[in-house]
Amino acid sequence: MAQASRRSGESVWFWILVAPAVLGFLAFNLGPMIESLYLSFTKYDVISPPQYIGVRNYTYLIFNDPAFWPSVIVTAVFAAVSVPLGLISALAVALLLNRKVAGQGVFRTIYFLPSLLPATASGVVWVFIFHPTFGLLNRLLYFVGIEGPAWTQSVTWALPALIIMSLWGFGQPMVIFLAGLQDVPDSLYEAADLDGASRWQQFRNVTLPLITPVLFFNLVMGLIGALKVFDSAYVFGSTSGVGPGGPARATLFYALNLYQKAFSYFHMGLASAMAWLLFLAILALTAFNFWLGKRWVHSE
C-alpha cells in the first residue's frame, strides 16, 4: 500500500519536474516543426494568412529558383573540401599531442581556443586578414613575391577564404580525437613495438581501427555543421562590402540563402521547404552514422 502510494507520488513529481522541459519541447521543437512542415506547402509572407499550394514550393526550388542550386553547390564544395581538411588537421594534431610531449596542455589550449571564440569577432578579424591591400595574408604573400588575390571581392577566391577561415576552428574534433586516442590501450602499442611494427604500421593497424567510431562521429558532425554554416558566411559578406552571399553568390551558403528568402524577401513558405530539405539531409546523415556504427561494432 505505502509502496504503491509512493510510486504514484514519484510519478506525480516526475511530471511536475519535467513540465518545463515538456513545454519547451512542444513550444520550441515539436510545434514549430509541424507548423513549418505545413508552411512548406503554402505561400506565406507573414502579413496575409498562409495559402495552400501543394508541392509547388519544392518544385519551384528544384526547377526554377535561380539561387537554390548555386547555394547547394557552394555548400557542397565547402563541405567536400573543408571537412576532410579539418579532420586531417585535427587528427594529425591529436596524434602529435597524444605522444606525451612536454607542454601538451599549452599546445592543446592554443589549438582549441580559436574554435570557442565568438564567430562574429573572429569573422571580422579574418575579413581584415583577407583585406586585399592592408590584410595580413596578402602582405605575407607579397613578402614571398606573390601578389595575392582580392580574397573578399573575388568570385574565385571568396569561398577558399571561407574554407581557410573554417580550418582555424578544428579544435572540437581535435579534442574528441584526443579523447578517443587516450582510450587506445598502451599494451597494444607495446605488443606492436615488440613485433617490430613501424610507426605507420602501428597507426594503420592499431590506432586507426580503434578510433574509427570517433572518426565517423567527427565526420558526420562535420558534414552536418557544414550544411548549417551561417555565421561565418554572413559576417564575411556583410563586413567585406560585398553583401551576404557575395560576391555574385560565391558565398551564398544554403542556410544563408534560406535566411534571405525568409527574412529579406518574406518568402516564408519557400524558406520552410528549404528548411525541410535541409532537415531530411541531416536525418539521412544521422541514419548513415548509426548504420556505420552498427557495422563497425559487428565487425570487431
Partner: protein, 283 residues
C-alpha cells in the same frame, strides 16, 4: 643506438610541427591585438608596419565610446546570465526526474528530447518568429531567453542525468525518511554533489549565448537592444568611411569581445575539454 637517434629526431620533428601549427593558430589573434594598438596610418601604411610605434590604449577608449559599447556589453551579459540561470534550473529539474523518479513513458520522453538535437534551427525559426511577433515580443530579449528556461538545452539534461544516476540512491532515501520533498532532495543533496557538471553547463551556456549571432539578428532591431555580435557588425558597416573601416578600432572591439571567453576558458579549461569530449563519447 640507431633507434635512440631516430627517436630524438622524431621528437624534434614533432615539436617543430606542433610549434609551426601553434604559430599559425595564434597569428590571427596576435595580428588582431597588434592592429588594435596601431594608429590608422600605421594600419594603412605601405610597406607594412608590423609593430605599432607606440601602444595606443586610447584606441580602446575611442572604440568603446564612439559606439555605445557599455550598453551592448551589458545587454550581452544580461542575456547570458539569464540563460545560464534558466538552463541550470530547468535542466536540473528534468534531469532529476529522469534519473530518480520512475514514471511511465519516462524513457520515451527522454529519447524524444534527445532527438531534438537533430532538428536544425532553420526548421523551427519561421513559426517561432511568427509566434513571437504575434505576441509582440520581437525586439525584446524574451525570444533569446525563454527557451533556456524551458529545458531546451538537451545536452545539459543529458549530462546532469548522468551525474545524478551516479550518486548513490541511499542519499536520497535518507533524506526522504527525514521527510524531505523531492525538490528539497534535489537542491540539498544532488545539486551540491554535481558542481562540476553544473559548471560545465554554465560555461557552455555562456559561450552559446555570448557568441550567438542568429537570435539577435532575427529578434533585436533597436540599436539600444543590440548584443555584442550584432553591434560589432553594425559598427563595421556604419564606420565604413571613405578610407574603409577603421580597422584598428574594429580590432579593439573584437579583442574586448573575445576577452571574457578567453578568461573563462583559462579558468575552466578542464570543463570545456571534458564537455566536448563527452559530446563525442555520447555518440
Amino acid at each position: 643506438m640507431n633507434r635512440e637517434r631516430s627517436s630524438i629526431f622524431s621528437r624534434i620533428t614533432i615539436y617543430a610541427l606542433l610549434l609551426a601549427g601553434a604559430v599559425a593558430m595564434l597569428l590571427p589573434l596576435v595580428w588582431m591585438v597588434l592592429t588594435s594598438f596601431k594608429s590608422f596610418e600605421e594600419v594603412l601604411a605601405s610597406p607594412p608596419v608590423w609593430l605599432p610605434k607606440r601602444i595606443r590604449w586610447e584606441n580602446y577608449r575611442e572604440a568603446l565610446t564612439t559606439f555605445d559599447f557599455i550598453r551592448y556589453f551589458a545587454n550581452s551579459t544580461l542575456v547570458a546570465a539569464v540563460n545560464i540561470a534558466g538552463t541550470l534550473v530547468s535542466c536540473s529539474l528534468a534531469a532529476y526526474a529522469f534519473a530518480r523518479l520512475p514514471a511511465r513513458g519516462s524513457k520515451l520522453l527522454f529519447a524524444l528530447l534527445l532527438s531534438t538535437t537533430m532538428l536544425p534551427a532553420q526548421v523551427t525559426v519561421i513559426p517561432l518568429f511568427s509566434w513571437f511577433s504575434a505576441l509582440g515580443l520581437v525586439n525584446t530579449f524574451t525570444p533569446l531567453m525563454l527557451p533556456a528556461w524551458l529545458g531546451t538545452n538537451v545536452f545539459a539534461i543529458f549530462l546532469l542525468r548522468q551525474f545524478f544516476v551516479a550518486i548513490p540512491k541511499d542519499f536520497a532515501e535518507a533524506a526522504r525518511v527525514d521527510g524531505a520533498s523531492e525538490l528539497r532532495i534535489l537542491f540539498s543533496v544532488y545539486l551540491p554533489l554535481s558542481k562540476p557538471a553544473l559548471l560545465t553547463i554554465a560555461v557552455f551556456t555562456f559561450l552559446g549565448s555570448w557568441n550567438d549571432l542568429w537570435g539577435p539578428l532575427l529578434y533585436l532591431h533597436d540599436e539600444s537592444k543590440y548584443t555584442l555580435p550584432i553591434a560589432l557588425l553594425n559598427f563595421v558597416g556604419l564606420a565604413g568611411q571613405a578610407r574603409g573601416s577603421p580597422w584598428h578600432l574594429v580590432m579593439a572591439v573584437s579583442t574586448v569581445m573575445m576577452l571574457p571567453v578567453v578568461v573563462i576558458f583559462f579558468l575552466a579549461q578542464r570543463r570545456f575539454i571534458e564537455g566536448i569530449a563527452a559530446s563525442g563519447i555520447k555518440a
